[in-house]
């Protein structure tokens, strides 16, 4: 992994078209500004993680596997839709 040190107001390029500027760095947070072509998606890592996991979740769970899981629950709720 390339490691570079930058201060607030400084920036760096990724390739010719993507510029990342350090807008603010205080405490444990860094605020970045990113200039990139529209066709380059810029996504937070946790969103990418959830996106990947959602694609897995959208695949049907095999019926027998789901039924086996439901049977394994000790006292399944009759009304799953209840407030917190």
């Amino acid at each position: 992994m390339l490691v570079i040190r930058r201060k607030s107001g400084e920036s760096f390029f990724i390739g010719d078209d993507i510029e990342v500027e350090i807008l603010d760095a205080s405490g444990s947070q860094v605020k970045l500004g990113i200039r990139a072509p529209k066709e380059i998606p810029v996504v937070r890592k946790e969103i990418r993680l959830v996106s990947d996991q959602n694609r897995v979740a959208a695949r049907p769970i095999p019926g027998p596997r789901l039924e086996q899981f439901i049977k394994s629950l000790k006292s399944p709720s009759a009304d799953p839709i209840r407030p917190l």
Binding site: E46, V50, Q53, V56, P60, I70, P83
Partner: protein, 153 residues
């Protein structure tokens, strides 16, 4: 009653008040905004969120507190705005709104293990039918929480 075509359950009728609206879609499914709850008594407490726009998109889910009774949801300010909830204060980062429901999406791994996404629960304002997938900024909970041997209440 309107009808919805589903890949898993065939053609179903649904009531308008059973629909849920995700204004921003879900990560990976940004064009899916409208879903309907499918609740079958034989599958309780698992429910399915069926997309009204894309028949093949259907998420199994279950109430997050049935998986972890001590689960503390954290809703980002922008998600609170989307949900129409009163913004929380630093002293109350996890508002418990009686009209709010938290669901965890379920998934099966390639090996057949069932997991729940506790990292990004579905939060629904049941009064308005508005929903978001609230991605946590901390790492307290896993997106692949194993349900094998889970003791659900």
């Amino acid at each position: 009653m309107p009808l919805v075509q589903t890949q898993q359950f065939g053609e179903l009728q649904y009531a308008d008040d059973a629909t849920v609206h995700f204004p921003h879609g879900l990560p990976g499914f940004e064009l899916c905004h409208r879903f309907v709850f499918i609740q079958r008594p034989d599958l309780a407490p698992v429910v399915h969120l069926q997309s009204l726009e894309t028949p093949e998109v259907c998420f199994p889910a279950m109430p997050i507190h049935a998986i972890d009774p001590n689960y503390v949801p954290v809703i980002a300010p922008e998600d609170e705005v989307t949900l129409g909830l009163r913004p929380s204060s630093p002293l109350n980062p996890a508002p418990v709104n009686p009209a709010t429901l938290a669901l965890a999406l379920l998934a099966a791994t390639a090996e057949g293990e069932l997991t729940a996404n506790l990292f990004a629960p579905i939060i629904i304002n049941m009064e308005t039918g508005t929903a978001v997938q609230a991605v946590r900024m901390d790492s307290l909970y896993s997106p692949h929480y194993s349900l094998e041997g889970a003791a659900c209440s």
